[in-house]
Homo-oligomer: 359 residues x 2
DNA sequence: TTGAAAGCGGTACCAA
DNA sequence: TTGGTACCGCTTTCAA
């Protein structure tokens, strides 16, 4: 009663899931060449023949071996994502799931698969080099860029098409990317709070070395300056976008010398923490405190419903994944057509927690 | 200034990330055979030679092409996860991220990669068949089993090693799986609430067709019966484990003829919804209402901290991913050693919201 | 201890 | 419109 005992009975069948082209060609009395052409849509094969091939393939459950195909064509029909492990809680996260789902949609359309390579943090460069050298993917999507990301140089050098999810601020080299307009989003959110009369606005941001966080802070500061307010470093907190981190930041800020009347929060997770800290301080959101969050529209958390109790700037990671992937496929098909740049705008949604200063 | 223009200059380099074995062997004056043996740890190669090979590989940045290696050996060094897309919000979700991170750790140790194949929902069977037929993976991890999961028969038939994440209740066939002891977890949680004096305990559960949800309900009902209470179907709600769904369920239950004094909630996401509904009804958790949640320990949301405001049964999806993957590798190495079964226990953590009945 | 050559399962060129 | 055949890059007998 062993699940896989059958496998050992037939070692041949283990190596490949089914039949190979030669057997198949013998069975239906056509050359391997013709079959290959038929299955790959080459125009010179007679329609009747093609039909016969497809019918037989279906009937005999024949499917070409991807590895062999990859070797013969030089294309592996897979795109790679390198996932930094463990020490970076921002990476293997719900956002990433949503991004993958979007990328997956694009992949389905192109008949591609996604290869996830995991790398110990700090060994990222090596991971990219290895992944490319091993030749298992036709393109790469690069996650979690930092302000001055050294991977860009490496990847340009490697010559494999890639698209970054996010940008790297201080890099002058050309590269393709898809990003949310973080600066504008936070500028708008800050202006929104300023319009309500707030003057003491705190920013609970992502990790300081993350590019997106820097852009968000730029937007925040630019809006403040536009209103004649000099940004206070003490009003800004950076850290991982988790409930715990948001809680710590908000508790700290609320206990500080200048109590904020409004919070700008970089993720819905930190926002839950901010809410907890506020409640513990006896404050009610939407009455004693205004909170605007940046919301990556996590499908799982909300399924498109409203963000309860918050005013939100909504952007879709799912769509970012889709767009980044689509871009990558264009780059793979036509390498000289890039680099591409695509900026997604966040939608502003007024929720229930906009208060209280409204002077 | 095109990122990838360099690629076209050298078509050879595009097909494979670097140099191939033949070039490499010429460069260092050894036969391909010797190099292959050296790199794969065969005993017959002289230690000095092996060192020379490794040094040269490092220096010249040579890495064997995985596809070619896969073809020659019959092993692809990749394990596959099929991800049902779109119509199932429970799949591409934060839980899945955490699971992948765990599986990734295991993969790193074994030098494997993860292939994600996305399938339109309802075409899952086909996706598995195709993935196996294409021969791109050495094993499969199967997600999101339903009560009577037809994939098991197919997969046994296919003969590729696989491990299920979760079980399928009504299937008699042998198969390997890793699962949380959902029944016991919910039995304990229910008993915990019963001990506090609660008699009207609601269950906000996952989708009705999911196996884990059925097991949780079994545990819940068994504990109630043990206390001489006949379970009320009206006290149970099934649905996707999202904030929105939890909110709807709790609001409904709180407005119903028999108002529950305690909630047993199947995920932290639904729990946020339950909390919102409770607050809207003017109830305070931990004072007017007891809530126990099952918490998959989403790293991103909490980073191992306490679950604020809830009593929790904590289990680690991350660990499930790790264990499932490890099991799969054993199965790949020794197919006849399975099927394996592994049950993870959930840890009970008393939080701040245990109240109020405590008679 | 090393090397030559035959696969692995396809694709694509060239000839028929 | 079809078929023969030389690769793709590596592993693995078999012989030296």
């Amino acid at each position: 009663m062993f699940v896989c005992s059958c496998v050992r009975e037939n070692e041949k069948r283990f190596r490949n899931g089914g039949m190979n082209l030669r057997e198949f060609s013998k069975k239906i009395g056509l050359s391997q060449t013709t079959i290959s052409r038929a299955m790959n849509g080459h125009p010179e094969v007679k329609e009747a023949t093609r039909l016969r091939v497809f019918e037989a393939a279906e009937r005999l459950n024949y499917a070409p071996n991807v590895r062999a195909k990859a070797m013969a064509t030089g294309r592996s029909m897979a795109i790679g994502h390198i996932v930094p492990l463990s020490s970076n809680p921002d990476m293997v996260n719900p956002i990433f799931s949503d991004f993958l789902a979007g990328a997956g949609e694009s992949c389905i359309r192109h008949g591609y698969e996604i290869v996830l390579a995991f790398a110990e943090h700090g060994r990222l460069d090596h991971a990219y080099r290895a992944l490319v050298a091993k030749g298992g993917v036709d393109g790469l999507i690069v996650h979690d860029p930092v302000l001055d990301d050294g991977r860009i140089e490496i990847l340009n050098d490697l010559g494999l098409p890639y698209v970054m999810h996010g940008r790297s601020h201080r890099v002058e080299l050309p590269y393709s990317w898809v990003d949310v307009n973080n600066k504008r989003a936070f500028e708008r959110a800050t202006n929104f709070l300023l319009d309500l009369g707030h003057r003491k606005i705190a920013l609970v941001n992502g990790r300081a070395d993350a590019d997106f966080a820097a852009r968000r802070q730029m937007g925040y500061e630019s809006a403040l300056r536009g209103a004649g307010i000099e940004p206070e470093p003490a009003m800004v907190r950076s850290g991982p976008m988790t409930e715990a981190s948001g809680y710590a930041a908000a508790r700290d800020l609320l206990a500080g010398p200048v109590r904020p009347t409004a919070f700008l929060v970089s993720s819905i997770f930190s926002a839950y923490g901010v809410r907890r800290a506020a409640e513990e301080a006896g404050l009610t959101l939407g009455r004693d405190l205004s909170v605007v969050i940046f919301d990556d529209d996590i499908a799982y958390l909300r399924n498109g419903g409203d963000v309860p109790r918050f005013t939100a700037l909504r952007s879709s990671v799912h769509e970012a994944g889709l767009r980044a992937s689509d871009l990558l496929f264009r780059l793979i098909a036509e390498p000289a057509s890039g680099p591409f740049a695509e900026l997604l705008e966040a939608e502003f949604i007024v929720g229930q927690s906009t208060g209280p200063v409204r002077e």
